[in-house]
Symmetry: C2
Subunit: 342 residues, 2 copies
C-alpha cells in the first residue's frame, strides 16, 4: 500500500526523507533542521543559506494576491529565515515557473515586487531560472546571508530561565487571509458587490505584504544582545516554540496576557468569531522573530520598543505550557500549518 | 495588449526582467548571465551559486522518466553549472512541490536519486522545502560551490586564436528523448506492445541519466590548463557558442568533422532521419563542457582523452561559423531550446 503524503506533516516528511543524511564536508556546520543551513568560511565567517517555495493554490490565491505583493513576499519569507539565524541576507536566486496564461506584463509585476524587496533590504538578485509550467505559478527563492561564529543563533541554544521574546504582534496575517477568503466567497456569489477591505487594512496588509524584522536584528546587535535561540514565526507561535524547546531540550512557560496581539487583530477576530489567541498561537505567516535571551538581559531588552517578553524557558520535564489569564496551565500542541491535506 | 511570453526566448525573458539590476554589494562579482553567480569571499576564495528548475510536462515526462533518475538529473544539471565555472560543488538545497497523487514511496524515490548524486559528487544536501501542488511536480535546486580568483572561468574570457574544446560527445540526449517520445506514442496506440529500448541504451541513458563532467575539470586542473572561457552544454552547441562569443566579443570557426558524435548517436539519427549534426548543434541536455584554451595549450590538452578540439576563436567581425565537410562556411544561428511555446 503506498503511503499518502497527508499522513506526514511538512516537517515529518522532510525529516523522514533526509534522516539518513550526514554532511560530507566539515564546513557544513548545520544542514537541514534550522531556519537556514550554515556553512563555515574563513576567519570565523559563516554563510547562511535558505530556500523556500511558494505554490499557487497552496500558498497564495491569485484572485486576491496582487502579483507585485506576491513577488515581494516571496523574497521576504526567505530573508526572514536568514535574519532568524542572526545573519544578514546578501544575495538571492529566483526560480519561477508559470503557465502561458501569464503575460510578460504579469511576470514583470512579480519581478517588480522581487526587485523592490531586494532594494529595501539591500540584497542582490544574482540568478535564477524562468520556465513555463502546464498550470499554475511557482516561485522558488534561495537566499544567501552572512554572519559570524560569534553571532549565529540556532534553534538549539535556549537554556533554563532564559526569557522568551517575540517581536511585533501575532495572529494578524492569519485573520487577513480569513477576510480575503470571505470576500472571495461573497464576490463569487454576488460579483456586483465590491470587496470592502478598507477597514481590514491592518490584517490584510499583514497577510499580503509582510516584512522581515531586520530592524530587530540590528537593534539586538547594537545593544549587545545575542539570542541564545531564535526562529522566525512562519507557522504560528506554538509550532515555533516547539522547535526551539525540542531542539534545545528544554520546556517553557508563556503567559496569555503577554502575547502581543494588535487591537485591529482583536477587532477582526471578534467579528469573525475566532479566538485571537488561537490566531496568534496557530495562525502563522506573521514573520516575526521568536527568540530567547539570558535573564540578565532583561533590562537591556526593554530598550527595544517592539519586543514583548512572553515567558521563560523551563526544564524539559515541564513541557510546553501556556498560562492563561485565569492562571491555569495549558499544554500546547503544535497546530502549525501543513499543506499536505487530502 | 498584453505581451505573450512566447514572444521571448528563455534568455530574452530573464534578460528583459533583470536588465535594470546592478549589484549593491561589491562582493557580488558576477550576477545573472553566466552558468553560476560568483560572490567574493576572503583570501581570494569565491562562491559559485546556481539554481535550476525542472517542471513536469516541460522538462520531463513521468510516463518514461523513472523518479530516481529524475532526482539524480535534477542535481546533475546544477552541478554541471558549477563545474562550468571551474568550481567544485559543495552543497545543494532542494525545493519540491508535488500533488497528492504522489505517494511517500514516490517522493522517496526522487530523494534516492538526489542522495545518490550527492554521494557520488561529494555534495551535502543542506536544506529545502517540500510542498504540495495542485497539479504537477516541480523540482528547484540551488547548488553552491567553491573556486578561487585564479581558477574561475567565466563565459567572457575567450580570446582570438584560442582553441575551442568540447568534452564527450553531443546530440545523444536529444535523440534519446526522440526515442522515448516515439515509444510513448506507440504505447498509447497499442499498449500491448512493450517498449523496445535495449538497442537505444546509449542515447536514452544520455537523456535520463546525464553526468556532470567533474572528471574533466579535475584533469584540466591537474595538467595546469585554465580555460579562458567555459560553459556547460545544456541548450545545444550553437547556443552555448553564441553565449561565449557574444560575452567575449569574439567570433569563432568550428569544423563539422571535428564535432564529436557517438556511433550510437549516428545510428539512431539515421533511423529517425534526423541529421546527427543538427542534434549536436541544437539538441541540448548533453551536459558536456564547452571551453576555450590558449593555443599554446594544444599539446597539453591532447593528454586528456575525452576532449575534442573543434575549432578556434576569431575576430568578432567573422561571426560564428561552421565549416562543413565540403569546406563551406555556414553562419550558425541559436536554435537553443525555449520552453515558452504557445
Amino acid at each position: 500500500m503506498p503511503t499518502k503524503l497527508s499522513e506526514f506533516g511538512e516537517f515529518g516528511l522532510i525529516k523522514k526523507l533526509t534522516e539518513d543524511i550526514t554532511p560530507i564536508h566539515s564546513e557544513t556546520i548545520k544542514g537541514i533542521g534550522d531556519d537556514a543551513a550554515i556553512i563555515k568560511k574563513e576567519n570565523n565567517k559563516l554563510l547562511a543559506i535558505t530556500s523556500d517555495l511558494l505554490v499557487e493554490g497552496i500558498h497564495f490565491d491569485l484572485t486576491y494576491t496582487p502579483l507585485k505583493h506576491l513577488g515581494y513576499k516571496a523574497v521576504i519569507v526567505n530573508l526572514s529565515d536568514i535574519y532568524a539565524m542572526n545573519a544578514t541576507p546578501k544575495q538571492i536566486t529566483v526560480n519561477i515557473a508559470l503557465s502561458s496564461k501569464f503575460s510578460y506584463e504579469a511576470v514583470s509585476q512579480i519581478y517588480e515586487g522581487i526587485k523592490l524587496a531586494c532594494k529595501l533590504y539591500s540584497v542582490d538578485l544574482i540568478g535564477g531560472d524562468t520556465s513555463s509550467s502546464l498550470t499554475g505559478l511557482f516561485i522558488s527563492i534561495t537566499a544567501i546571508g552572512e554572519t559570524t561564529e560569534d553571532n549565529v543563533s540556532y534553534r538549539n541554544g535556549a537554556k533554563e530561565n532564559d526569557l522568551i521574546c517575540v517581536s511585533g504582534d501575532l495572529g494578524g496575517a492569519y485573520l487577513g487571509v480569513q477576510i480575503l477568503e470571505r470576500e472571495k466567497r461573497i464576490y463569487k456569489e454576488a460579483p456586483e458587490i465590491q470587496p470592502q477591505l478598507e477597514q481590514y487594512k491592518y490584517v490584510v496588509g499583514r497577510q499580503l505584504k509582510p516584512e522581515a524584522r531586520r530592524d530587530i536584528i540590528k537593534q539586538l546587535n547594537k545593544i549587545g544582545i545575542k539570542p541564545t535561540a531564535m526562529i522566525d514565526i512562519s507557522d504560528g507561535l506554538s509550532s515555533e516554540l516547539m522547535h526551539i524547546c525540542s531542539q534545545s531540550n528544554v520546556g517553557c512557560r508563556i503567559y496569555e496576557d503577554k502575547i502581543p496581539i494588535h487591537p485591529e487583530t482583536e477587532k477582526v477576530a471578534k467579528e469573525l468569531s475566532i479566538h485571537s489567541l488561537t490566531a496568534a498561537l496557530n495562525g502563522g505567516e506573521d514573520y516575526e522573530l521568536l527568540f530567547t535571551i539570558p535573564m540578565n538581559d532583561y533590562e537591556k531588552i526593554k530598550e527595544i520598543t517592539d519586543i514583548s517578553v512572553i515567558g521563560h524557558i523551563t526544564h524539559s520535564s515541564e513541557g510546553i505550557n501556556l498560562v492563561n489569564k485565569q492562571g491555569h496551565f495549558i499544554k500546547l500542541k503544535a497546530m502549525g500549518w501543513s499543506n499536505f491535506n487530502e
